[in-house]
């Protein structure tokens, strides 16, 4: 069963260690998916910035991306970035760790985005 690599995943957090930690957790069950991250600002401070997020989007090999994030400004910057990139972004307002883990495990299993979104629906918290 081949992983779904047409659809990629991007993680956005205020802190580099948070996306590093979630990636580690995810990679255990999803070694083959297209996963990139933006943690903290371009300058390495706590926060999010659009240019850093755009980098993670560009670096991802997939053109259709499922995006997970932690707090408010990440969401606002993601909305800004949506206007700045040619790739298709799907932002999920779900519990960060649980949502990202669910999507990653299902992408690895070869599921489509539509199927994954059914599993994500009950995890919506924001």
């Amino acid at each position: 069963m081949a992983a779904n690599t047409q659809t990629g995943m991007v993680l956005v957090s205020h802190v580099p260690e948070i996306v590093a930690g979630i990636s580690k957790l995810i990679r255990q069950v999803a070694p083959d998916i297209n996963l990139t991250t933006a943690g903290g600002t371009s300058d390495g401070d706590i926060g999010t910035d659009a240019t850093h997020i755009l980098q993670a989007i560009d670096d991802n090999h997939a053109d259709e991306l499922m995006v997970f994030y932690d707090l408010g400004s990440a969401k606002m910057n993601l909305d800004l970035v949506t206007d700045m990139t040619d790739k298709t972004l799907h932002r999920y307002d779900v519990a960060f760790v649980e949502g990202a883990y669910t999507a990653a495990a299902l992408l690895q299993a070869g599921d489509s985005r539509a199927e994954i979104e059914k599993q994500l629906a009950p995890l919506k918290i924001k």
Partner: protein, 193 residues
């Protein structure tokens, strides 16, 4: 409003933010993550550097330059919010709009849309939205701006980082509202005849 006035505005705002950096961070420590003063200081420094580098020729380019500096350097929620305000003014200016009330309305609408906050949620929208209305009515002045900023104090935060504190957010000024008040007051100074 013309390019020179906007440059003057940004210089005055930079001075004001520099002067109140610790105050803004203290407000943000009370009900947020404590970085608003530093974030804004980094942002206005980037704006000054960006304007010097871009040397924009018209109003639209000037607002665009400011927006990009704020978006890439502020870091907190204020980055995309202030960035959107200036991007929306750039869009309006592209259609040869230079009327201050019209530009402020575009900025206020952009901020409200980006953050999804309404008036009364204890955010910078509590200043932006009514200030744009005041400007349209010819009543935008420092006293009215101060009143809008002060009015955030008794509110319970429903959006932004302070909303996680629930009731405990009551009794504190919203830092974003305070820095927005400074932005609008320096605009008045820069465009006063």
């Amino acid at each position: 409003m013309n390019v020179e006035q906007v440059k003057q505005w940004m210089q005055l705002y930079q001075t004001e933010i520099e002067k109140n950096k610790d105050y803004l961070s203290q407000l943000d420590t009370d009900i947020g993550d404590g970085d608003h003063g530093n974030n804004m200081a980094r942002g206005v420094d980037a704006v000054a550097a960006g304007l010097a580098k871009d040397n924009p020729a018209d109003l639209a380019q000037t607002f665009k330059s400011i927006a990009m500096s704020l978006i890439s350097k502020v870091g907190g929620a204020s980055g995309p919010l202030y960035g959107t305000a200036f991007l929306e003014m750039a869009k309006a200016a592209k259609d040869s709009e230079s009327d201050i009330p019209t530009l402020l309305q575009a900025a206020a609408d952009g901020v409200a849309k980006r953050g999804g906050a309404k008036v009364g949620d204890k955010t910078m929208v509590d200043v932006w939205t009514p200030a744009a209305q005041d400007a349209k009515a010819g009543q935008l002045n420092a006293a009215n701006i101060d009143k809008l900023v002060e009015a955030t104090k008794p509110l319970r935060a429903l959006k932004g980082r302070a909303s996680y504190l629930g009731e405990r957010s009551i009794g504190h000024l919203d830092p974003g509202a305070v820095s927005t008040g400074m932005l609008l007051k320096t605009l008045l100074q820069a465009t006063a005849k």
